[in-house]
């Protein structure tokens, strides 16, 4: 198996908002409690779509092929909109 370096920039392919706190465990409720968050797939220039938590100030920022940038690869990929960075 060979590792490929993927672009840190992409567009939101599709997303949803997690409106309720996922079951814990396995979910770990963050300090300060659960707040709804966006999760979706980011389409990278290489074609592959990567599942990620999507940081934004308003969920509407994620509509319509929104451009996002990788802000963390671990523990799960996390991308952010321009307004958040």
């Amino acid at each position: 198996m060979e590792s490929l370096e993927l672009s840190p920039h992409g567009t939101v392919w599709g997303f949803t908002v997690q409106r309720f706190a996922p079951k814990a465990p396995p979910y770990v409720v963050p300090d300060g409690g659960f707040v709804p968050f966006a999760v979706g797939y980011v389409e990278l220039p290489e074609g592959v779509r990567v599942e990620a938590v999507l940081d934004c100030t308003d969920f509407s920022e994620l509509d319509g092929d929104a451009e996002v940038t990788l802000v963390a690869a671990e523990p799960v990929p996390r991308f952010a909109t321009k307004a958040t960075r």
């Binding site: 997690q18 409106r19 079951k23 592959v48």
Partner: protein
């Protein structure tokens, strides 16, 4: 064309909450109902296949049905458990190994069931810790992308769910028997945008069984339904499934439902345009919308006009989920695939009562589930 296999009996247990009955019991009730329907006894059955996702082993049902010594194989295939059991029964008949076979599926899931663990899916613990081990996210993301890509309004999700409850109200065996308006469905708590709580099916309870025989045996009974074609498939490269850290490849994801439906239609020698009544997996109402196109009943994006025009209603051109589907019957994982077959058999025989479609001749069933499996049948009278 014909596979040489017919369905001569179909039976269900009651669906919905039944605190006094265990999951295995629902499986036994379904088999007894199917045998009664076929005019047979358990002693006439030569081979059986079946399973549940979380309610025990099907082969233990012989303790209740009778110790006749027949081969009884357990099947565990997620949402395709019933479909896989039926395929195995069909193969047994076609091979000549048996002339009478039974397929059964049953389950009894409590409220809030389905607790997937990252480790069981080959995923890192962090995936669950981050809040991504949530089944409903997948459905939300898939339909959100689909509606945007094909310019379909979100209203279709409420309309399809409204139809499910309306059809459920006409089905004496359904769990949900109260009509709910599209406005109320749309205004219910949002689970994962754009899907509200009332657009999803719930973990449920029920059993379903089908008796299949050779055409020669079927010819001796009056109410046989021909199995024109059946197929099960697993996902190919580039599909989009629940709990996927990535969608591989590029372009539109591949669809296992498309593959299974095409294989079933090819085996049957008929096309989707010839189908008079269909059962499509409706884990949530968006799934029914997408499966209409994935199974070949319309082009992507045509669903909005189809639904607005009433084409998928009981009186429409292609009635879909006439028994209320998973949304009105609940989702006992092992049973749902065979419940679908039961409904189409009932419709083709003209025995569906208040929800009867006018003189259907060809029917279709489709089940889809994790981690990318689909089973389809084409039936005819």
């Amino acid at each position: 064309m014909s596979t040489g296999v017919s369905i001569i009996g179909a039976g269900l247990s009651k669906f919905g909450r039944q605190p006094d009955h265990g999951g295995r019991e629902l499986g036994v009730q379904a088999i007894r109902a199917a045998l009664r329907d076929a005019g047979l006894e358990w002693a006439d059955v030569q081979v059986a296949f079946g399973g549940s996702d979380g309610s025990g082993l099907a082969d233990t049902l012989v303790a209740d049905l009778g110790l006749t010594g027949i081969p009884f194989t357990n099947v565990k295939n997620g949402c395709a458990t019933g479909g896989s059991a039926l395929m195995a029964a069909v193969h047994a008949i076609r091979s000549g190994a048996a002339e009478v076979a039974v397929a059964v599926g049953f389950d009894k899931h409590p409220r809030g069931a389905f607790d997937p663990r990252p480790e069981d899916w080959g995923l890192p613990t962090a995936y669950g810790e981050a809040g991504l081990m949530v089944t409903t996210q997948f459905f939300g993301i898939k339909i959100a992308r689909y509606l945007r890509e094909h310019h379909i309004s979100e209203r279709i999700l409420a309309l399809v769910a409204e139809k499910a409850y309306r059809n459920g109200a006409l089905n004496p065996n359904a769990w949900r028997r109260e009509p709910i308006s599209a406005d109320e469905i749309a205004a219910a708590d949002m689970v994962n945008d754009p899907l509200t709580r009332l657009m999803f099916c719930s973990p449920g309870e029920g059993g379903a069984a089908i008796v299949v025989t050779s055409d020669a045996v079927a010819a001796r009974t009056g109410r046989a339904v021909q199995l024109l074609g059946a197929a099960t498939r697993t996902r190919r490269f580039g599909s989009f499934e629940v709990f996927s850290p990535s969608i591989q490849g590029s372009g539109r994801p591949s669809s296992v439902s498309t593959d299974a439906a095409a294989a079933a239609f090819a085996a049957a020698g008929v096309g989707p345009d010839e189908v008079d009544v269909a059962q499509l997996q409706d884990t949530e109402s968006g799934a029914e919308v997408m499966h209409l196109a994935e199974c070949g009943f319309c082009k992507h994006g045509e669903q909005e006009a189809m639904v607005a025009g009433g084409e998928t209603e009981i009186g429409g051109r292609l009635p879909v989920n006439t028994d209320g589907g998973c949304i009105a019957n609940g989702e006992p994982i092992g049973a749902s695939g065979l419940r679908q077959v039961h409904e189409v058999v009932t419709q083709l025989r003209g025995e569906a009562g208040a929800r009867q479609v006018a003189r259907p001749r060809i029917g279709f069933t489709h089940v889809y589930g994790a981690p990318g499996i689909s089973a389809c049948t084409v039936l005819a009278v």
